[in-house]
Symmetry: C2
Subunit: 595 residues, 2 copies
């Protein structure tokens, strides 16, 4: 192995072009592959920016040629040589540097390499655990490097955008107070304060509001947050958030500022224009039309309400739903009348996941509507249903009749499921929208109490404040979510900035005065010393990068992610620690020993 | 309390100038003070950017005037009015907006305020604990806001500078593996993996090196780090670091890049030019001339070696030091011959802190050298000493004779102590320098083993690698520290990138092969798959901001710092947690109950 000893790289491997022919260059990187051909040795030299073909010829330098014979894949080498145009017929149009090659005069082997356990190239079909174990090799693959490059560009763009508009990035503590509410906290035992614990922040929510009380005016932070939840689906114990707050603003300013920011992010990372302002849907409208508070509007197939028609019909499933405060809705799967019994069964099983007890349907055959339930409807009822759904020959109508929640959930998911199955979704489309006018509270059937739909600091609408006393479930919040292609990427609100309103909110959530003071006393107190109206938002950076980079999991846009069992396969974290460490932290293990 | 209801701020309180006279504006902020004078009410309205004087006149608007009468300090208000030039003689030259005032036509009281426990102004003389308890009020003080504003500008400048040079900001995990080495780890019990713990990172050192193995080429991160140490002096449990690493470089490139970055930071935050390249001192030279590896070069008073002269003299303290491998050195405190007995005693006590058993001195009086020790020297010895020290009438010569470490420590600190006492330090000076060529290892007398002077991943100099086997204490490292005014602000090195050298280093540090693999096995393994030469640096952001902002403690440049007992006086963290939380984490308390 040789040392650099004064060699300085003159450029990256992706940058040479025909115009560079004749130049003397020094390149450094990894050997992507080596080929021997016609008495020459060809090496594809790779770095973060691309690949350059290096040629070793005994006629150029005998010693370099001899060294090149020993080079293997993933060796780290430095090459000094001359850029030449490739001979006629050997130009590689698939490579940015494909018009040239570098004839090596000198080479240094900076480091050797064992054979990697998988190929360093895109689209490999390898168990993800192997990739995570050898993350340093996985991250060498160009698609992974592009993803992290895009991530860097994205956060840099956000910072530039916010800095130019007077936002200050201010850091908030990672070692903070446990106020379990919602998700579980990660705890950190205190050595200096025996028996006491810090919590890692689930979000800097309280600190950013305190910063508004402190007159910081416009704050943001790209910040790590933590939730100790079971990692079903695509979650990570630690995740990154753009956290933002501003004083003296109403909803409109936040929305405008944020949609312009996202448009700028898309412009710099993908070079695409996103039209602004984004469409807005109220929560009520989103639920009614899409059965979801994060609707995917890249396709139609909207939910159609039939409750009024169903209320008078003979079909007892529909009738019962309508009579008991439930709803009857349907979607029209255009051109799906031909679905087989098996396909219809599969759809029925699919909606069952969301609590639907069945899935009534009507197939619009050339012979007319065909359906096990058609017989229950009077002709004019059937016509009204078909008309409202815009049913035509060849369509498949699918019905839900249950509580509003179950109908929304099942038909809402069903329309997405069908859209994917039918290929209705344009993979290039980027449908951003805002959902606004959320309810302040949701009734939690298990706990028999209200829970905050966003969080306890969300302001009710001014005109609904009085309803907090009389009909809390009807209070709307000054909350808003940004949605991209059916995925919530950001959410926020105008906050409560008055102690009395905040205390009322805590009461509605079932916190006693004592608990409220114990957990949030300093915040309630702060509100009494001159708190400006303020509001903000938080974006999930991992998810946003994933969507823009076109990856399927956030693990592909995080350098060192954890597995579903919250462990790191590369370092072996978490791990056992010494008795001395535990002793110092005033804790003991409480583990049932394995037999 | 009133709501904004469509009012939009047109500008900040610091921005109005004479040219704005006649404009209609809306300002929002806090009431700095209210005065009633000549039938008018004057309100100094404050926000992050400054103060504007608002005038309420019953002739302009009766209702606004009436509302203004109820306004108190720190109330949050919004004012709509007209900018007018101040009348002759009432211009305030101390205020950026002092040429104008705003005549209020309308006012909204957005929130009230209790009387704060201290004044919202600079240079208050208040117990720091009170400031920390009411941090949201403390941070409203302009000097605190300026400090956080400077901090934002500093980190933004660093990010711009590095982004423009191809560095990617890549996030590394906060929940990682405990590898206690040096400082104590903060631990996080794992719920999913009973009996196992994550550690919060002391630095992302290993991850950034892994990123180099992964071909990321140029990485940086402004990142939170954690050390569970006793908070003597000015430390915090969590602190922020600029962490940076690059591949295919030697020391020279890192130094040049970093000094230009710091010059750019000083330019954008303070508008001052710092000459580059920075002076460089070898570790040996820094220790010899300043008795410190982070020398303050804003003044002279350098250490002068007299060991050769002392070796032959009759004064047994000097002679013994010289004969037993120690040194004799002195500094010349110009013009301090008049120091009283009491002052000399104070200096003797001062050096005792650093292990010096006494402090010999010579006073250069008009009558000649006066000293308890003069009699031990032959005339030519005395003359040689005076000459080497450039002694003139009026000077005070102060001597140290002991091990090299104790002499360096005591005289090194003494020169700084005297410079402060004598006012020799130009408060405006910014003396940046590099210290290079550090030893790789230090002998730890307590543990009877070598410890890494920087950390175990620092590369030895190529020409010294063979000394690792024969004379480890003489191996120099490819390490470098950046020093500002006697404070180390950054440190780094070219790293080891070969498994065999890294293993040798671990052995020198007393790690068995088994321990090395247990702790760092994945890194050693990574080194075998094609690791490029690489190096980097880390800067302490809190300390750098503190120095540039001219603050005395890093707590003044951290929004929510902890106290010396690692607690947060505002939130009450750390705090007790529920039995349920502990149970879920598989731990029990191990606390001796208080009687």
């Amino acid at each position: 192995m040789e040392a650099l000893q004064g060699w300085k790289r003159t450029m990256m491997c992706g940058s040479l072009r025909a115009a560079d022919a004749g130049k003397e260059v020094i390149l450094m990187g990894w050997v992507q592959r080596r080929r021997d051909h016609g008495g020459l040795i060809f090496v594809d030299l790779r770095d973060r920016e691309g690949i350059t073909q290096v040629v070793f010829s005994p006629e150029v330098d005998q010693e370099a040629f001899a060294k090149a014979e020993a080079i293997r894949n993933e060796y780290v080498i430095a090459v000094k040589g001359e850029v030449r145009l490739r001979p006629e017929g050997t130009v590689n149009p698939n490579l940015a540097t494909g018009e040239v090659e570098v004839y090596a005069r000198e080479v240094k082997v900076l480091n050797g390499a064992k054979t990697p356990p998988f190929y360093i190239q895109d689209n490999i079909d390898v168990d993800e655990n192997l990739r995570l174990r050898y993350r340093y090799l996985d991250l060498r693959r160009p698609e992974m490097q592009r993803a992290l490059g895009l991530r860097h560009r994205l956060v840099k763009t956000i910072r530039d955008y916010l800095d130019a508009r007077g936002f200050w990035e201010i850091e908030t503590p990672m070692l903070t107070k446990s106020t379990p509410e919602g998700a579980r906290d990660y705890l950190v035992p205190s050595r200096v304060n025996p028996g006491k614990f810090f919590a890692l922040p689930q979000s800097p929510q309280i600190f950013k509001q305190i910063l508004m009380v402190a007159g910081m005016d416009k704050y943001f932070q790209i910040v790590r947050c933590f939730r100790d939840e079971d990692l079903r689906s695509d979650r990570q114990p630690e995740f990154t958030q753009l956290d933002l707050e501003m004083s003296f603003v109403e909803r409109e300013e936040v929305l405008t500022l944020m949609e312009e920011m996202i448009a700028e992010v898309v412009r710099t990372t993908l070079g695409r224009e996103v039209p602004t302002p984004f469409p807005r849907l109220t929560y009520a409208e989103a639920m009614a039309r899409y059965g979801s508070d994060k609707p995917d509007t890249r396709f139609g197939m909207e939910l159609v309400d039939l409750t009024d028609i169903a209320a008078g019909c003979e079909f007892k499933v529909f009738r019962a739903a309508a009579d008991n405060g439930g709803v009857v809705k349907a979607i029209n799967a255009k051109g799906c009348a031909h679905f087989s019994r098996k396909e219809l069964d599969e759809l029925t099983q699919y909606v069952a996941i969301y609590g639907a007890k069945g899935l009534a349907y009507i197939q619009m055959t050339p012979e007319g509507p065909k359906s096990p339930i058609a017989k229950f409807f009077k002709e004019e009822e059937l016509q009204a249903i078909l008309e409202r759904l815009g049913a035509e020959t060849g369509d498949l109508l699918l019905f839900g009749a249950d509580t509003p929640r179950i109908v929304a959930d099942s038909l809402g998911h069903l329309r997405v499921h069908l859209a994917e199955k039918l290929g209705l979704i344009d993979p290039e489309a980027m449908n951003f929208l805002w959902v606004v006018d959320f309810p302040l509270l949701e009734w939690d059937e298990e706990e028999k109490r209200y829970v905050a739909m966003h969080h306890p600091f969300t302001s009710p609408m001014d005109e609904d404040i009085e309803l907090m006393d009389t009909d809390p479930g009807r209070v709307r919040a000054k909350a808003y979510d940004m949605v991209l292609n059916g995925v919530e990427i950001g959410g926020g609100s105008i906050r409560i900035h008055r102690r009395d309103v905040q205390e009322k909110m805590f009461r509605l959530l079932g916190l006693s005065q004592e608990e409220a003071v114990e957990k949030f006393g300093f915040m309630l107190e702060a509100f009494e010393y001159g708190t400006p109206p303020h509001g903000g938002i938080a974006f999930g950076i991992d998810r946003l990068v994933m969507l823009l980079a076109g990856r399927d999991t956030i693990r592909d846009v995080i350098a060192f992610p954890k597995t579903q069992s919250a462990s790191c396969l590369m370092t072996g974290a978490p791990s056992e620690v010494s008795a001395k460490q535990l002793k110092e932290l005033h804790i003991k293990l409480d583990v049932i020993p394995r037999k």
